[in-house]
Point group: C2
Chain length 141, copies 2
């Protein structure tokens, strides 16, 4: 049995690089956010500011709940309401150089975690899938 | 280092029992399915037949894609289109008595896997969260 060691693996090597991460911006209208989520097929994506700093997450659930709250006639409000108004901005992140062990603790309650640098710029995301693949590769092939 | 052994743990002991699993039925209208998904907060739930047999999964994504395809005026069609018409019915399952090792392989590409008995009745679901908790408990506290 090999030593099971997530404390020696850094998130940097296993994250999905930010250029491959679908995201939306704070001031995008909800209609644009729903289009990105529907086209990519993801249930939630990171929200960044214009300068690439990480701000939080937005999910299909957030937008559907908002749509349910609107009158049939006002669905075109989705052009006016922005991501900023329905996103979740209380989200933990990982720093570059942190370990997969720390990521494991966060991925128990979250589908993915954003990895940021010291200026809070998003460098990538670490997903449950990436972590499970590492665990599988270490023990079973 | 303890031996990392998912081959000795059975899915039965770690699955969420079916009485705690939100689900919809084949003949439910999409409007009901969207309500269940929105109220529970889940992105996808199992689809069962009237006798409890497992039939597949339905997700918010399936329903939103259908809504996008409809004319504004026809949204009330959601009362008439049923789960059966938009669900994914090509879904792998786990059998009672199978191991967490087998579950690990399936959970790399799926958020959760349904556990069924020999009559294909759903007994529970095994989620990525349940598996990650077991891995964390075995190595890190
Ligand atoms: N287009 C696709 N092709 C193939 N498989 C797909 C897929 N979309 C989703 N999946 C599968 O479904 C899981 C859950 O996706 P979800 O969108 O809820 O949740 C995703 C999504 O919110 C986010 N995510 C993943 N990759 C992303 C990316 N490139 N850009 C932005 N967000 C991403 O991280 C969460 C966890 O992703 P993870 O890969 O662990 O787990 C994914 C993956 O196994
Ligand atoms: N109401 C809630 N309270 C607290 N945390 C919540 C939550 N809803 C979702 N989450 C968190 O978000 C993750 C993804 O949820 P999702 O709905 O996309 O994907 C879920 C959902 O599709 C399904 N699922 C989980 N529990 C379920 C249940 N009791 N009934 C039906 N489906 C369930 O299994 C997938 C994976 O679930 P998992 O627990 O691994 O992972 C969950 C959990 O960590």
């Amino acid at each position: 049995v090999t030593e099971f060691d997530l404390t020696q693996k850094l998130v940097n090597e296993y994250m999905i690089d930010s250029d491959k991460v679908a995201h939306v911006q704070l001031n995008n209208p909800l209609k644009h956010a729903l289009l990105v989520l529907t086209k990519t097929g993801y249930n939630a994506v990171p929200v960044l500011d214009y300068d690439g700093t990480f701000k939080g997450l937005i999910s299909k659930s957030h937008i559907i709940e908002k749509m349910f709250g609107l009158d049939q006639i006002e669905v075109d409000l989705l052009d006016e309401i922005t991501v900023k108004h329905v996103m979740d901005n209380d989200i933990k992140t990982l720093q570059l150089g942190e370990t997969l062990e720390k990521a494991l603790h966060l991925l128990i309650d979250h589908n993915f975690v954003c990895v940021v640098n010291h200026s809070n710029i998003m460098e990538g995301i670490l997903t449950r899938r990436q972590l499970l693949k590492q665990i599988r590769n270490q023990f079973y092939q």
